[in-house]
């Protein structure tokens, strides 16, 4: 573990001033400390931002929910307004990591979470994300955990977050602050595809800080008469405390038996939190029944590029989609109360 300077930021402005390519901000520390110990991240300076006033959750006048960057995953998952209006987000958060890690991890930190690709995490392996131009040992290696969607010749590393999968379905905006002031980025645009620059993992300059995440208004807000339901389903080897092999985040509005609005995002199978827009479109106007779900699943995985060890995830992701759609439908029919377990 390399030496670094340590300081505490007293304000967002001063934190941003510290920011450069050699500096890492630390909030929960669950990614940073893990990767510094592995020598994967090598900051010359670490700036503790925990004293910044970014720990509140507030309802905006337009119905959106603004979440401070430093709200912990635990607090967010259990926040009354999140549980009521965004149960999908609460479920996804609680499906991730462990109690301890959720107590430490923050909203912004989760957005900045880095891949679990074993070749990325091992400095003895070739990895274009860790060391641009060095190659990708995962492509022809053990790639069970790797991406089916959004990969490139240079990188197939999966984005590991559960929270972000729910955000992809819900829709959100990030507020970033830097020397030039504040700017906003749509969540969908925050994580780029790896392309030939897999080391660029987000739209955040070194001297910028995420200050807030604002969730789009709940789907029910625009369609108050609709029956809305959601479900997050995470499939993995063991029952808890494991990254997803495939996960699906679903939000649906029903009008009778017909789907009037659908949101579908996937985790564990893509290089970024994966919004399956075409599959969503294929659901709208359809009856909420198995055939529609299966068709959406086919569409969502149409562009999958399986590798030697992860081809099974094509089927697994389809299964996650179909089951999550079914359970979200059930939730909608029960008045939005999601009683299904979210993890498998």
């Amino acid at each position: 573990m390399r030496a670094f300077d340590f300081s505490r930021a007293e304000s967002v402005g001063s934190a941003a001033q510290h920011g450069n390519a050699e500096t890492a901000f630390v909030a929960g520390g669950t990614t940073l400390l893990d990767l510094v110990k592995l020598d994967v991240m090598r900051p010359a300076a670490v700036v503790d931002i925990n004293a910044l006033p970014l720990k509140t959750v507030e309802r905006l006048a337009d119905g959106r929910l603004r979440i401070g960057a430093l709200v912990t995953n635990t607090d967010l998952a259990h926040h009354p307004e999140v549980k009521r209006d965004y149960p999908l987000l609460s479920q996804a958060l609680l499906a991730g990591a462990s109690t301890q890690l959720r107590n430490m991890a923050t909203t912004a930190g989760n957005l900045m979470q880095r891949t679990r690709c074993p070749y990325f995490r091992d400095v003895g392996s070739a990895c274009n994300k860790r060391q641009p131009g060095s190659g990708c040992d995962a492509r022809d290696g053990i790639n069970r955990m790797h991406a089916l969607l959004g990969g490139s010749a240079d990188c197939i590393a999966v984005h590991p977050s559960d929270m972000c999968v729910a955000l992809a379905a819900i829709g959100a905006t990030l507020t970033l602050e830097g020397p030039a002031g504040e700017r906003e980025v749509a969540f969908a645009d925050f994580h780029p595809l790896p392309g030939d620059t897999p080391h660029i993992e987000h739209d955040l300059a070194a001297d910028e800080l995420i200050t807030a995440l604002t969730l789009d208004a709940p789907l029910t807000l625009d369609a108050p008469l609709a029956r809305a339901g959601s479900h997050y389903l995470k499939l993995r080897d063991r029952a808890s405390y494991e990254f997803a092999l495939a996960s699906a985040a679903v939000q649906l509005n029903l009008d009778g038996e017909r789907i009037t609005e659908a949101r579908l995002a996937l985790g564990g199978v893509a290089t970024k939190p994966w919004r399956a827009s075409e599959a969503e479109a294929a659901l709208v106007g359809r009856p909420a029944e198995l055939a529609s779900f299966e068709r959406a699943a086919e569409i969502a995985l149409r562009d999958a590029r399986p590798l030697a060890h992860n081809a099974f995830k094509v089927d697994l992701a389809k299964q996650a989609i179909v089951r999550a759609l079914r359970d979200a439908t059930r939730a909608a029919r029960q008045g939005g109360t999601d009683t299904q377990e979210s993890q498998a």
């Binding site: 573990m1 340590f6 505490r8 110990k37 503790d48 635990t74 301890q100």
Partner: protein, 184 residues
């Protein structure tokens, strides 16, 4: 063996700069000089001689290092010591009070909720935190899910669950009794 002809140990390099950090450890104020990159777990075990907090993976993957920071269960292996400035840190050494085992410790003993004992401090720190957290359900499934960040390779999980639920009952009885005593 240690004649001058062999290998003489000479310390090379320069000492690293340290930072001062002040926090409350097991209810006692503490002031320490630590390296900026010192990890709380290593500081507890190596600098303070508090070996109760265990190292099982050093990467937040096993839960053996679980401590309370301001009452919340956290992995001490993923926390810089300097980040604890002004915080309240509790380790397994701080669970028993005035020589009496905490109800969770008592129930772990009574239920044989451990074997080798290495994950046990972390299990108990998670257990005490969850018993204090009304947001976590009290049914077995909720407890098992909330405890899943604490791996027990000996596989004493069944007894750990029993011990936690037994401690829950003890704590509830104690609370009832205290409430009763408070009534004139």
């Amino acid at each position: 063996m240690m004649d001058d002809s062999v290998h003489s140990p000479t310390r090379r390099g320069t000492p690293a700069p340290t930072l001062n950090v002040n926090f409350t450890l097991n209810q006692q104020p503490i002031s320490l000089e630590v390296a900026p990159n010192a990890v709380l777990l290593d500081v507890l075990r190596e600098q303070l001689g508090l070996g109760g907090t265990k190292k099982g993976c050093d990467h937040g993957q096993c839960g053996a290092c679980t401590v309370h920071v301001d009452g919340q269960a956290m992995n001490a292996c993923l926390r810089l010591a300097v980040m604890c400035e002004g915080q309240h840190v509790t380790t397994v050494e701080g669970l028993a009070r005035e020589g009496e085992l905490h109800p969770v410790q008592q129930s772990f003993l009574a239920c044989d909720a451990f074997q080798c004992g290495y994950c046990t401090p972390g299990q108990m720190m998670s257990a005490t935190a969850l018993l204090n957290d009304a947001r976590i359900g009290s049914d077995d499934a909720a407890v098992k899910e909330a405890m899943s960040g604490n791996i027990c390779r000996c596989g004493a999980y069944k007894n750990i669950l029993t011990a936690i639920q037994q401690a829950r009952a003890t704590l509830a009885d104690d609370a009832t009794r205290r409430a009763g005593e408070g009534t004139p």
